[in-house]
Symmetry: C2
Subunit: 607 residues, 2 copies
């Protein structure tokens, strides 16, 4: 039976038939990786997911919670995570895209993205431990001294030590610059760290012999705001002079773990640094460059969050589809009044088909958006000129907030519909549907709330290089649209996508003018603008994929492939006609200078 | 401090300034109820909510679950519910609208609706026990024999006995007609009931000395489908000849209670009737009229479900507003780059204001929709001609599926945004936000899934009396629109509402034609059509309320009222310009004959 967690056929379609990854596999730095090797990676990853990861997904088994536990000052992960951690690192999954120089496999990010897609679906709470470890290690790889690399890289990339990401404080969430954690210079060049970090995912656990915390703090005397922030490496256990883990704790004390709506297997910690004045931190990179450095990790994390939305959407859809094919309820709609008519699987009911196609078209559209962004990284790596590199890097900049925000919200929306397809069963803990919804909810909040992502897109990304990246991206969409316009079957949809993108180009220009005249208009509408971007870009990917599918259908594919390609075309039609088509009307609203949200007096919200 | 669970000012505005309930209070059957009495009811209800109900809301206290428990075959509710139950019935809340003949207070439904609004917000899991008890008692009142009324009414209306609603079976959810529970005639005129009912809310508990189950079953030999269904009264404990509760159980055995995403305080039971061949049921009403009879209770329950969406939306909004006024984060948007600028409450940030006004405008719009529907019941009761009665009854028929489906989905949407306003805290169990979201999710599923509601609206309600009720309702909207068109401040919005309603009138006619030519178009689009109806009707209520607010503002109101009325106007502008305005574009999509959901081959969903 096909997987309920990952749609391998769609992944391969995207990779080989749409993005033509095989072309990239012929060029440096990927020329040592064949298509067979890529296929094998996907096959092995899916085995890991099916056999080992997915069985650990439920956060309740026979009425008993499966969760991270805080007991006597220590954090314990669910028992099964220990073996998973070992399998994950033994299998080399921790360094799929990393350079062989640091022990990595050097695979394209496109491939790693698809692997992440599966893993986020099958146990997000678990994979976050590994994701944060990778991100923290990468910080050291990019910004660390040679000595730091020697100490940390191998230990972290092999999963012997774990990593975290310590930004948030009780009064400094979205406003990172307001943080209060301080770093005091010690005579030996190290720093004494003092402060409390909150909501630290995977902040403490018993998976590894040590945990490495990258911590944002302000060196005494440095200016307020983000400009005065530096970043420090703070190990949970102090290190011996030879770089091994000592038995001595480094005064990082776990105060608590949060009771949460979901991701119960992941420990969300309050960490107290230097409560006893004995917490040693090591400067990473230059002083006062902490924010810039941390952004390396944040960008990686934001794409992973987008993947969580995709992963849950994908798993929720496949579970709902499976259920809808099995579950009998009611007669065929044409025989509704005949009580003797045979019961049919609910997939035959129009409203259920609507829900399923909604889920499918969003899941597949988000897959395209996310994996395209990973593909851009491969294009950066393979670029032979600075110009080319800059172009693809520009797409990554632009698309990162959209991947994060749009996919976290739409992933939630898809899991909501997934619950609905299951009816009463969807609300019961016996089935995974309600957990997916609970787990998914965090994604719109952490790694920068979706409101912050919208501001990033509007206030920073759209204007980068005077809008060049955005114009480039719009240009990038032209090929698929032009091709689809030549295919009768989908030419109307091609026009809809074009209109949507044009509407957003106009809106973006208007916003840019308004940033001077009435900045509140773009600010109020930033979030809705980002969603329109998502709706339009998914339209682009859908028309691109449908164009490929139409072409393939003419080549007399197998029966199975015929169904698949037809499915792609209907998925595109559904999404473009029902969602992308609304973008121009929504864009009109965005530009309208509708100021109620600013005009309402504060006391007018409720008296 | 104002309540975090209920917006009393808005409720009174709606009741007295918009619907002019005071006019109804001068006519039979309400002429004995003064405005003072109504105000006192609201005041007392709010006291109950604040002092007694809301404190029982959290389903986890200090890490310990507060939930219904199944132990040794018995169901126990959370301890605090016992006292609440007593307070509720001693206060007369169980029979607020019922006739004095059955011990009720005879208040207008409008008032009871607002009380329900509060109670659903402050502890939905609890209030469901009482809601089902009322619904079951009302069935006996309307359809029972004199003897049955004597036995059951007082006991149930005073909360001495509770009630349930037993429709669903494992293979018969949306398709009630497929039920397998049987009723076998006994020589004494009673019936022996055999079958298993599932997902029975409040199905068993220790709140009352007896529980009365209205059970749908098929008498042996009766035809299949809904036409062969009868309804029976099945007490949990057998009754003595004098109608009191005996010690003997009536062979209704609780098999299990469900572990659920939310409403943990409410027991969702599997009930086995007649496993030992000893379950006695008493026919209620005529044989084979079970579905028609049960609809009395279902319609009441569907409106209560709409109230749950409203209640959660309202509570989530008020909590988020309170938080946004207190929580400091980041500088004012005009000083974003100044790290020394003072931190401001997040309500000053445009994106947060957008979220709050989104929540406010939906909560208030849903309140108007729901309370209007209750107001229609009062108009039915006060009608002096059959024509008038029929007109208002027609509105109830039309609006019931919209209240149920739209408010359950939008209530969920509002609680989602409520979590977002709280940021990371919203995801933590320490705050009520995530529980509201979990509790609310059930509403789109039970009492007929929202897909079923959409079919009810499109397939039954729109066409009733050849569309007369729908045309009447559209006519009803004209007054407020015409008035608003004469007010400069809101005339544009009035036009938007008018256009939206016209677009739906056209769509409805097209659908009616297509039901013959291509029924799949209306069937695929039924759910989206229902949502468009909600978006347009809320626009109508908003323009109606804004019209009143504009008028009141000219009468030099107090400072507080000025803020309130301005808030109403901005709320209307926000909703109408951003949501109602999209209805015509959405209606175009609905009519488009976009058939992808039917055209996709089943194997094309995933291969």
């Amino acid at each position: 039976m096909a997987s309920l967690w990952f749609d391998e056929r769609d992944a391969k379609f995207l990779m080989y038939e749409v993005f033509n990854l095989q072309d990239l596999l012929e060029k440096p730095p990927y020329e040592d990786h064949s298509q067979d090797m890529v296929d094998m990676v996907l096959t092995e990853a899916l085995k890991l997911v099916e056999n080992d990861v997915a069985p650990t997904y439920p956060d309740e088994v026979q009425g008993k919670a499966v969760e991270a536990v805080f007991k006597d000052g220590k954090v314990y992960v669910p028992e099964a995570y220990h073996r998973l951690w070992q399998l994950y690192y033994e299998g080399g999954w921790g360094t799929l895209t990393d350079s062989p120089e640091v022990g990595g496999q050097g695979f394209p990010h496109t491939v790693a993205g698809l692997v992440m897609n599966m893993l986020s679906a099958a146990n997000m709470a678990f994979i976050m431990y590994a994701g944060l470890t990778h991100g923290a290690a990468k910080l050291v790889e990019v910004f660390g001294t040679e000595e730091q690399k020697k100490i940390y890289l191998e230990n972290m990339y092999t999963g012997k030590w774990a990593g975290t990401m310590c930004l948030t404080e009780a009064g400094a969430g979205s406003d990172v610059g307001a943080l209060k954690t301080t770093a005091k210079r010690n005579p030996d060049g190290t720093f004494s760290i003092t402060g409390t970090k909150q909501f630290i995912s995977a902040g403490d656990h018993d998976l590894t012999e040590n945990i490495i915390h990258p911590v944002l703090a302000r060196i005494e005397g440095d200016p307020p705001g983000t400009k005065g922030i530096s970043i420090f490496i703070v190990p949970k256990y102090k290190l011996n002079p030879d770089g091994t883990t000592s038995d001595e704790l480094n005064d990082v004390i776990t105060g608590n773990i949060e009771g949460k709506m979901g991701i119960h297997g992941n420990s969300t910690c309050t960490l107290n640094f230097g409560e006893n004045g004995n917490c040693v931190g090591y400067l990473l990179g230059e002083e006062r460059k902490g924010m810039r450095i941390m952004f390396q990790m944040m960008n990686e994390a934001r794409l992973e969050v987008g993947m969580q939305g995709l992963g849950h959407a994908c798993a929720s859809y496949l579970h709902a589809l499976d259920y809808a094919k099995e579950r009998l309820q009611g007669p065929d709609v044409m025989h509704m009044r005949d009580p003797e008519a045979p019961r049919v699987p609910i997939i035959q009911h129009p409203d259920v088909r609507r829900m399923l196609l909604y889920m499918k078209s969003l899941a597949e559209g988000m897959r395209a958006l996310n994996i395209f962004t990973f593909y851009c990284m491969d294009k950066v790596a393979a670029a032979t000129t600075e110009e080319e590199k800059d172009k693809w890097q520009g797409y990554i900049e632009l698309l990162t907030p959209i991947c994060k925000s749009y996919c976290s919200d739409m992933g939630f929306r898809v899991t909501e519909v997934g619950v609905q397809v299951f009816g009463g069963y969807g609300y019961c803990r016996e089935y995974p549907m309600e957990q997916m919804l609970r787990d998914q909810k965090i994604s719109s909040i952490y790694e920068g709330t979706n409101g912050i992502q919208a501001l990033d897109l509007l206030g920073r990304k759209l204007g980068m290089k005077k809008g060049l990246y955005f114009m480039n991206l719009l240009g990038e969409t032209q090929a698929a649209i032009a091709q689809a316009k030549g295919i009768d079957e989908i030419k109307e949809e091609a026009k809809i996508v074009e209109d949507a993108l044009n509407a957003l180009a106009t809106t973006s220009m208007e916003f840019s003018k308004m940033m001077k005249s009435n900045p509140f208009v773009p600010l109020i509408n930033a979030y809705d603008f980002l969603n329109c971007m998502g709706d339009a870009l998914l339209g682009w990917f859908h028309i691109w994929e449908a164009g490929v599918a139409c072409k393939k259908l003419k080549e007399s594919p197998s029966e199975k492939d015929t169904a698949f390609y037809k499915g792609k075309i209907e998925s595109a039609k559904f999404f473009i006609n029902r969602t992308t088509a609304l973008v121009p009307a929504k864009a009109e609203i965005l530009k309208k200078e509708e100021m109620s949200a600013m005009n309402i007096p504060e006391e007018g919200f409720a008296v």
